[in-house]
Subunit: 393 residues, 2 copies
Amino acid sequence: MKIDSVDFFYLSLPEVRDIGDGSQDALLVRVVAGGQIGWGECEAAPLVTIASWNCPMSHSACKPVRASVLGQRLESVVDIRRINALVREQSFDLLQADHALSGIDIALWDLLGKKLGEPVWRLLGYKRAYPKTAYASQLFGDDPQKTLRAARRVARSGFLAAKFGWGPYGRGTAKQDADHVRAAREGLGQDTALLVDAGTVWGDNVAPAQARIKALESCRAVWLEEPFVSGALDAYHRLAGRCATVKLAGGEGCHNFHQARSMIDYAGLGYVQIDAGRIGGITTAKQVADYARVKGVRFVNHTFTTHLALSASLQPYAGLERDDLCEYPFEPSALAREFTTAKILPDANGQVRIPDKPGLGIEPDWPALKKYWVAVEIKVAGRTLFSSSRAPV
Amino acid sequence: MKIDSVDFFYLSLPEVRDIGDGSQDALLVRVVAGGQIGWGECEAAPLVTIASWNCPMSHSACKPVRASVLGQRLESVVDIRRINALVREQSFDLLQADHALSGIDIALWDLLGKKLGEPVWRLLGYKRAYPKTAYASQLFGDDPQKTLRAARRVARSGFLAAKFGWGPYGRGTAKQDADHVRAAREGLGQDTALLVDAGTVWGDNVAPAQARIKALESCRAVWLEEPFVSGALDAYHRLAGRCATVKLAGGEGCHNFHQARSMIDYAGLGYVQIDAGRIGGITTAKQVADYARVKGVRFVNHTFTTHLALSASLQPYAGLERDDLCEYPFEPSALAREFTTAKILPDANGQVRIPDKPGLGIEPDWPALKKYWVAVEIKVAGRTLFSSSRAPV
């Protein structure tokens, strides 16, 4: 079969707030080939990503993404890898292309899985999919009391692990941050794993990050996530050398294999966090999972949005038993909650199972999504390059 | 003064060809503050970059670039650095933002230089600007005979250095590539420095690159540029270990400081090549130049387009006497040639001087550019986000 069409659907809450919640909008990708439909999602700015799909060519290495996708043969996993590599080659000066590729690549795996009647993880070569321990991923409260209450809510919900991040963390004093971390630990109780996400707040400045380590270790935090911007290899490496028990986690910003590999090789990470919706899709995420395994760094998904994105993010390491943690959006927006009818829910042991239906095993719920749909129209030199003037059925 | 407006102008040849010539289109940026005008250029896909300027916010770290620029105070170089950092912080999940920032940052330096009556390189702290040896940058011919003729043309033009790249290089056998390199050396004569650009053709595969080293060294090539994709640190490092006289050059794809720093720290580069129009502007390029100096890696501009971009690319290392090479677009498109009335021309010794007029010292030539202007209109949810429906005067 050949790739007949690729469509992008921009979905958004009516009001997007200035908070660290990435589930307030979404970019859904639909690929059609041989009568089959595949779905994917870009974890990316929707309008800009849409523009990268069919902008005019600038030169031979700055082509619109569509130039490497439409009309391509799609019969096997070899074809998906070939298309992924072709986008990288023909669009490497188009920065946003990696984010557009991500959603397309995910949709190609979904489509091929449905066509061949196999879940994606089996197409990736795994014999079985191990359940993962879901960690409830949420924002810090505005003050320690709110963090405490949020942690109690999580603990009551039966999660065995929870992550707090963003919000005030790293923006006040080390003492204030310690109060937040202690509140989180208190609310979770002693048996729930605690993870902390600094959201790159210290840039590449090691000293303030180092000042937080003691409190994190005394509260038995499993990891400190993104103290620094993605790619600040030396800062990560130096901080890792100052940690006794807490590990560093990072990598969600990586948009190609080599960036993730460098984080594994040089940053001293304990966990590499990969967002399939940013790094170039399931193809590239699996490449990172393979490399991390060889290097003894743990792979973990990054996802904060829908259950379609969650399923995609789990496939690359489904068969790696040792990599047993899974980021799980605990309080996503209404848009993300309504995105799919099928859900991936933690069981009584706080574990999630990766769907064993063909493809990703998760379909978008069009009737529910219709109200979030945003029309986009792009014209260049008087010609309409993109028009989504009719809402999808 | 405050930043009153930022405008983007998409310019293009009527027909863009599928070749490695990045001068076929351009994205010009105009910033107005306090009655002054500054000009900059993004080395980027125009439409996608425009979309990143005023797309809707997705969350607190995925804001449109305008959120961090419009209305900002602009009195000193401190303000430019602050705005640069703010864009990175508020748009770090918007991949294309770094390319948009680049042109804006360049325009801010141009504007501030005009306001303060100083060339940009002096605002950067340099006491003088050293002339640079221009290397004529061009594509390989389709066959060695064409490369030979092109090399003779360059030699006759008085350049003391020339670079050949892209085209067939790396796409055939090592023998065919050696023939091209020998033809280039023969055409240039023995006294002109020869540089070779592989345009990332080998991805991260060291073996085929290594197979080219002998011919490059026997023809006394100064560097082999981008054998691999930007960020393939280990591949660069391994190849560097196999080179006796030829140095590796790379870095043009870097879109932030940390990526360039990693290339300096881990890739074994002899030369780091920075495009001010991609890395985040003159601010970030200067940061790389400072770091490269400390680490003993040579800084060289990357530019293949207009003389406005050329001036911007020269500022960050204007005062570094040892870093004496300069990429010089030898056969740019008509669009790039007509872009400015003032030109930066090599003297009888093949050297270029960095303008000492206030700002960048180069203005776009509106009357000439008018015919290349491309209208763009972007609507989201029925609202016009960007409209350039009237051609600029």
